[in-house]
Assembly symmetry: C5
Homo-oligomer: 250 residues x 5
């Protein structure tokens, strides 16, 4: 299955914007709470995809107007229930995503959660559907749960999560960064032919962020999915351009 639509020169830079579902409005200010403003950033030319829940996609994303490819997140949950072993239900079908004009879809598996079996089952069924539509399926493989607490960024667990994406049939995997290139290159090996994009995470100092971008690329990832480190900055497009430069030219 081809990742062409959501990559450039084999690299990917995705703008994540499902924080309203996952975190509420706490991440937002008057600008970033408005999907139109964030879509304008997404459409600045440096992103190979924007990640939205179906409701935001329906009301704000217009495939005639927007150039950035749409990636629909198929499951999601609030962070209100502090379950140490989270589960995230499917909220959008593959068919709906196709009708919304999606170029790819994503689904979160909380690797290590005691509800893992349920999510793996849903993931596997979704994969049958995306296969029919030749739609790339991105695995949000996040270590979470009592079984992996404290080990979420370890080589052992991250390489397991990456491998899981390969074994279950994902085309791309979004995963946290382990923090150093050496361990992360093992994670990349574990994923095999599955391409890795690194999760941006909470906002950090810009210089450190650019360094991380360089590191994950040199470890073998093909890019990042960023949110807060772009749309929480004062000049999001400038930041996007800088990240883009590193990603597409390195």
């Amino acid at each position: 299955m081809s990742l062409k639509k959501i990559t450039k020169n084999g690299r990917a830079l995705l703008l994540a914007y499902d924080h309203g579902m996952e975190h509420g409005t706490i991440d937002f200010d008057d600008r970033s709470i408005d999907p139109e403003k964030v879509l304008a950033i997404a459409d600045c030319g440096f992103f190979t995809g924007v990640v939205l829940q179906k409701g935001v996609a329906e009301k704000y994303y217009d495939s005639k107007k927007h150039h950035v490819p749409l990636i629909v997140k198929l499951n999601g949950k609030t962070n209100l229930i502090a379950d140490p072993d989270p589960y995230s239900p499917q909220l959008c079908s593959v068919e709906e995503a196709v009708e919304l004009g999606a170029a790819a879809v994503g689904y979160t598996v909380y690797v290590g959660s005691c509800h893992e079996a349920k999510m793996m089952d849903e993931f596997a069924k979704i994969e049958r559907e995306t296969d029919k539509h030749s739609l790339p399926l991105i695995g949000w493989m996040y270590p979470r749960g009592k079984a992996v607490v404290g080990k979420e960024y370890s080589k052992e667990i991250l390489s397991y999560a990456a491998r899981l994406a390969l074994e279950v049939g994902a085309e791309m995997v979004k995963i946290p960064y382990s923090g150093d290139r050496e361990t992360f290159s093992w994670v990349v090996k574990a994923a095999g032919k599955v391409k890795i994009v690194v999760q941006g995470g909470p906002k950090i100092e810009e210089g450190n962020f650019y360094q991380m971008v360089r590191d994950v690329l040199s470890a073998g990832a093909i890019g990042l999915a960023v949110g807060r480190n772009v749309w929480q900055t004062k000049e999001p497009i400038k930041v996007a351009r800088k990240i883009g430069k590193i990603i597409y030219k390195s």
Copy 2:
């Protein structure tokens, strides 16, 4: 999707009458226990919709006789089981609602309940059906559950609930009022293109109620869904006219 059928001048005033399901007969007197009498109030010209469970709609609502649009509540539960984390099962399908002549449908999600995932899943599936029928889906987004107890009217939780309605694909959201215009205008922003109607709640002093109506409108809501503050008063139609004046002309 158009909200035209259940709005007037872009504003909405809904008469809620599903208390027999949600509270039993404790809210009723000899008048209000009779659906015919309450439907007569609903039909007085000041309401843009009446909210009924399917059983009451089937036996009392007559689209040839009644002018007020019908909104069918798709789920519901009794208040007998004092579960701190409530769940409300779907009792009416979208197809049934269409056959009953519904102009819109509603579904309650208890935001923060540990059964949230189940309700989000049902909500999302209903949304696929309402889409096919071009029927507006109204999210009754109610903070409820151990995780949010004491925070049901906070800016943080109400804006989260409103945003959830947007992310999951509702057209309108019914939500409690936070109590002040400033915080509520953030809730309105969180909802984006999703229109907000405020829940009327238990009967309060008339003057205070009218003030609340003005406040929620100035904060950006498009109206209210009222029940007890209308049909528990001595002169329901007079009260409806007063609320209508504020809503449609402000």
Copy 3:
């Protein structure tokens, strides 16, 4: 939907005979354990319906031979598991009931049980099916469960149960008697256009039983569903005639 087939002069007298499922053989003697003998009583001309589980209907009820209309009970359970919050699974589909020649069907909701949501969900789905077949659906609305223990015969809970039948779309409701006319007339109001038949309950002294029949009718119920107070008596048909006289002529 018409109740004509299971009423006479707008009144109903149903013979209940699903005790083998609900109670075992403890209610039976050598006569009443035999479905043929009980069907002969049911067919004596004073009953507007006989209530059977599908197995008994299949093997004993013959629509060519028997004149009394058949009412198939769609769910049922044993009383072996002493769960304070009972659940009763569906055992017969609406289609099967139609094939058995049913003139109506019944389903028990244990109002107040923590499994209430599951039964309400099943009830609501059954209602869609009965609608297609124009088959009246009778709600066995029984207060049961830790949440209502000690309040099973209260005005508050019985009126709630009756109202629930209306809200969810039943055509008739079978409900226990509150014990006095005044409170029960509130229960009747709560049910609105849904007709009420009172549950006969355990065998009591004949004179008291006839008085109860008169009371429930004067409170607005349209009749009763009796079992033990008929087929546990020495002369069941004589008793049936007496009840019939009160019901059809008062």
Copy 4:
């Protein structure tokens, strides 16, 4: 529905051989572990049916070669998990049983188990399928579970189990023997038109076993389902002939 295929002179003698599923290999010796050898016994002319799980039927039962009718057991479980309230999942569909050449099918309900509702639900659904194929459904109605512990052979519980088979729509019921003719004749009455075969149980002294056969027949059962009391004996066919003599000629 006709029981002709699995009865002779209105009597039934079934050879049960699903012990490998229910008990493991502990019941077997070098002979009885081999399905071919046990099928040879079953085919000796004295049995009106042999009870097999689908896997054994598929690989060993040949309708062209074997004369004894096949009864496929539709559910089953191991005895490894010592759950006081057992559940036995369906492992074979009615359609599969038909394709295997089954003359009847069986399903176990653990009467009194807290999973009773689930098994009753499955039983009832299976009954719809067997009805379509005019295939007799035999209820393995076994009292089991915390609610009935110590009462598994009581008149009260066994008559309840037998009645349940009638109420839910079985054609035949397999049930343990109460131990005396008087109580068991009440069990037979409870079953009404549903025919009873008694469970053979663990191996006992031959003379005692023949006496039990006579007793259950005189109490009104139409036969037995035996396993260990035949294929654990030294001369199974001789034993089968003796039982057959009692059953078909008494």
Copy 5:
């Protein structure tokens, strides 16, 4: 159903490579983490099948290029959640396996786990599908769970597990070795017409491994499924040749 495609001279030697799913990357080194390198080993001529999860099969197995038959493992789970009673969800449908070019499929049942019923149910449904496609179904029958802890290699439990494969309709069973020929020949008898391959297990000393291969064959198994004892060695193909010699010529 024929096992021809995955046997040679009636014997089987399968290369297992689903460790990325079941164990993470801990079993791998720089060579064995790469599916291409392991597939090259599998294709060396000594294996009658290679066992893969669907994701690895999709991306690496090419039926035009590879000669070794593909066996798709239909369920799988991580080892992160240390549930003493494991459950492994189905991740690949039979239809998908067929499209991937599978010559057989496998499914794990944790025999003795309290989730056994769920896995047996899934296994039985899969069997209906494989039957339609004439695809051999291999049961990974692994004793696991609180009920069997400490008895995983006992004659009693292993013969039960093998028998279960027969009763439920598997064509082949993969099972741990009991450790001695005498007990294992009872296990072989229990399986009847179902062929047994022994699980290779963790890497052990080469000489001991070859001895085990000889023992299991002489006990009646038709071969082994090996993984670590091949691809964790320095010269995997040399080892494969040695095992092959024992298996195909003994």
